[in-house]
């Protein structure tokens, strides 16, 4: 699928782009919200400062004017209370999209998110579900530091009851947001700020990217690289370099980190015999830990070397640009891991 191919360089071969509708990741999110607000009366947006002149990095710009402040609601700075309020609206017929500028602020709302939203359907014996969508934007760089650029997917995946999505392309930024709003469960979408200007194919219609399905964005037979969010793009760059050295890696964009597509990853690992997981989060008890453990269980006999994880160091996010540079892993770490794993 050309539209899920990450556009690391904006110039994609013209044969693919001709006649194909292209939008940025940011525009794709805007369009999904616009279409959802236009077609579904139950949908409304809420969040801190979502109607201001920056419009959540441009993803909500103008929506208040078009849909009124009744449906695009600026909220008090009260993340836990507002999450509970959004949840209350969700269990009573609405489809709220709650927006946080940073995942770090979600941490304040963990009581309502984990003690309430994630368990409500179960505790009610299957009577009351919580169709709540939470968008949050992963910040990174420019000294955003320890409280403004965390990756919380590992934290959120531990307890049952939440779905967690990490779109890497414009196509999936739209498709997964629509899927989340249609889903009867609480869904958290982690969008990466560095992807907001990435261009990709985005169909005009109101389509959903299926939750729980990965996308193979490069086929290869030598090593499987499973990546999330911006690491998909790093993996695609690494794959190009490795291809020049006769190493053909398969790159899987996980898209949905919970539930995740273990069939897709297992099939790939059975073919290649090698697994590298590149996640934007931390290692301990995180997404990469879960994938390597599960794939080891499923494909033990196919594995020809121990899986490798590319994750953040065991330290909070530092501020200095010299430290940021070494803190966040990138394509060179993936290339090194591939070479290491193949050389045994």
């Amino acid at each position: 699928m050309p539209w899920t191919t990450p556009s690391i360089k904006i110039s994609t071969p013209s044969a693919i782009t001709q006649g194909i509708r292209r939008l940025s990741y940011r525009q794709a999110i805007y369009e999904a919200q616009h279409q959802l607000l236009s077609t579904d009366k139950r949908v409304f947006l809420l969040g801190e400062g979502i109607d201001d002149a920056s419009g959540v990095f441009g993803t909500t710009l103008g929506l208040t004017d078009e849909f009124t402040s009744q449906r695009v609601v600026d909220t008090p700075i009260a993340e836990n209370g507002i999450t509970g309020i959004a949840m209350g609206a969700a269990i009573n017929g609405m489809r709220p999209i709650l927006i946080h500028m940073r995942p770090d602020f979600v941490i304040i709302s963990l009581d309502q998110l984990l003690n309430h939203a994630a368990k409500w359907f179960y505790m009610s014996g299957g009577q009351v579900s919580v169709p709540l969508t939470i968008r949050c934007v992963i910040g990174r760089g420019w000294g955003s530091a320890a409280q403004h650029s965390q990756n919380i997917q590992g934290l959120l995946t531990h307890l049952p009851g939440l779905k967690i999505l990490m779109p890497a392309t414009a196509h999936d930024a739209k498709g997964l947001l629509i899927a989340a709003v249609r889903d009867p469960n609480p869904v958290v979408i982690l969008e990466h700020r560095w992807l907001f200007d990435k261009i990709g194919h985005v169909p005009e219609d109101l389509y959903a990217t299926p939750i729980g399905r990965a996308n193979i964005c490069r086929y290869g037979s030598d090593v499987t690289i499973v990546a999330t969010s911006i690491m998909v793009h790093e993996a695609m760059l690494a794959a190009e370099t490795l291809a020049n050295e006769d190493c053909n890696v398969e790159v899987i964009d996980l898209r949905s980190v919970k539930p995740w597509d273990e069939n897709c990853v297992a099939a790939s690992v059975r073919k290649t015999g090698y697994l590298i997981v590149a996640d934007t989060g931390h290692q301990y008890g995180g997404v990469a830990a879960e994938i390597t453990a599960r794939i080891t269980e499923l494909c033990f006999s196919s594995l020809r070397a121990a899986p490798q994880r590319i994750t953040l160091p065991e330290a909070p996010v530092p501020a200095a640009s010299s430290l940021e540079e070494i803190y966040f892993p990138g394509q060179s770490d993936i290339i090194k891991a591939a070479k290491d794993i193949l050389s045994g």
């Binding site: 409304f44 009744q70 909220t75 008090p76 009260a78 836990n80 209370g81 507002i82 999450t83 509970g84 309020i85 959004a86 949840m87 209350g88 609206a89 969700a90 269990i91 009573n92 017929g93 609405m94 009581d111 309502q112 003690n115 309430h116 409500w120 359907f121 179960y122 505790m123 009610s124 014996g125 299957g126 009577q127 009351v128 579900s129 169709p131 049952p160 009851g161 779905k163 009867p184 469960n185």
Partner: protein, 326 residues
């Protein structure tokens, strides 16, 4: 706005409701030592007037969010006794298929959309559910019951702020029973002002009432319901009351040293049921025969529900991992 006193029929209904709640709680006290109810029970004996007085105004389409101490609210809101007891007994016929226990009752058919046992946790959810009604143009009210302890949580303040801001048709009912577990309120909150007074900071009416006087509760709740339905926004009611049993379980916690005995004795004299009973008997609105007939009815329906609960199948393995996701 002052409402006229309720007519004798309504007074009788309020009395009967309190009696029903007391009856239920007494049965639980009797049954609990059998150890077949394997879920913590937070009894509301002594606090019946609040549930009865507030819920008397509500229809099935109105919603309540209660707490760990929910028996009175659920009964007054019309929850099925069978489903409630079956849930206590961990049966798949229970209101939550055995997944909720006593602390998370859910009965959407009568406006109970689920219950949080996190102190203060249900308050914002109630505000959101009420907000949804406002957005959808549904003329229903939502009540959130909570204890004095919950007013120390941020969620309480965040909810008051937002509900006042958006004029949300929600009623905050604080049952101030002067304790959170065994901590007296004086050790937890500054002496200055009441809980009700905190409403003023957020610009909504706050009313401190005698929570053991069901007529007073009924009138205060009635005003709040009218305000909410007229689009005037939320109200905070602080109903002062007292629980007769320990925080959890059928235990006299004055004997365990958790609360002073003389305090309980004083409050027992202010029993909400006796208080109204005297008035109704003297006005000949109530006769001892009425009570006998009701007691028999309560006994019969409780026995039926208990039989249902005890003979239902225990929640089976198929319940274990279902309903994690819708």
């Amino acid at each position: 706005m002052t409402l006229p006193s309720p007519d004798s029929k309504t007074q009788l209904a309020l009395y009967r409701q309190m009696l029903l709640i007391r009856h239920f709680e007494q049965k639980i006290v009797e049954l609990y030592p059998e150890q077949e109810i394997r879920t913590p029970v937070h009894l509301c004996v002594g606090q019946e007037a609040v549930a009865a007085g507030v819920c008397a105004h509500l229809r099935d389409s109105d919603t309540i969010f209660t707490t760990h101490r929910n028996h009175g609210h659920c009964l007054a809101k019309g929850m099925s006794l069978k489903k409630m007891l079956a849930e206590f007994y961990g049966k798949e016929t229970g209101c939550c298929r055995g997944k909720g226990g006593s602390m998370h009752p859910c009965a959407p058919e009568v406006g109970i959309l689920g219950t949080s046992a996190i102190v203060g946790g249900g308050i914002p959810i109630a505000v959101g559910a009420a907000w949804a009604n406002q957005m959808r143009g549904i003329p229903a009210v939502t009540v959130t019951f909570f204890g004095d302890g919950a007013t120390e949580e941020g969620a309480f303040h965040e909810s008051l702020n937002f509900a006042a801001l958006k004029k949300i048709p929600v009623i905050f009912v604080c049952e101030n029973n002067l304790y959170a577990t065994a901590s007296a309120i004086g050790k937890r909150q500054p002496a200055a002002g009441s809980i009700a007074a905190r409403a003023a900071t957020y610009g909504l009416p706050g009313k401190l009432i005698n929570g053991n006087d069901v007529i007073e509760v009924y009138l205060a709740a009635g005003e709040a319901v009218i305000r909410a339905k007229q689009g005037l926004g939320p109200t905070l009611i602080e109903a002062e009351t007292f629980r007769w049993f320990a925080h959890v379980g059928p235990v006299d916690d004055t004997k365990t040293g958790h609360r002073p005995a003389n305090e309980l004795t004083r409050w027992k004299k202010k029993c909400p049921i006796q208080h109204l009973r005297k008035a109704l008997l003297s006005k000949k609105i109530l006769t001892p025969d009425d009570e006998k007939i009701w007691q028999k009815k309560f006994d019969r329906s409780f026995e039926e529900a208990l039989y249902f609960a005890k003979t239902s199948l225990p929640s089976g393995i198929e319940q274990l991992t279902t309903h994690v996701f819708a």
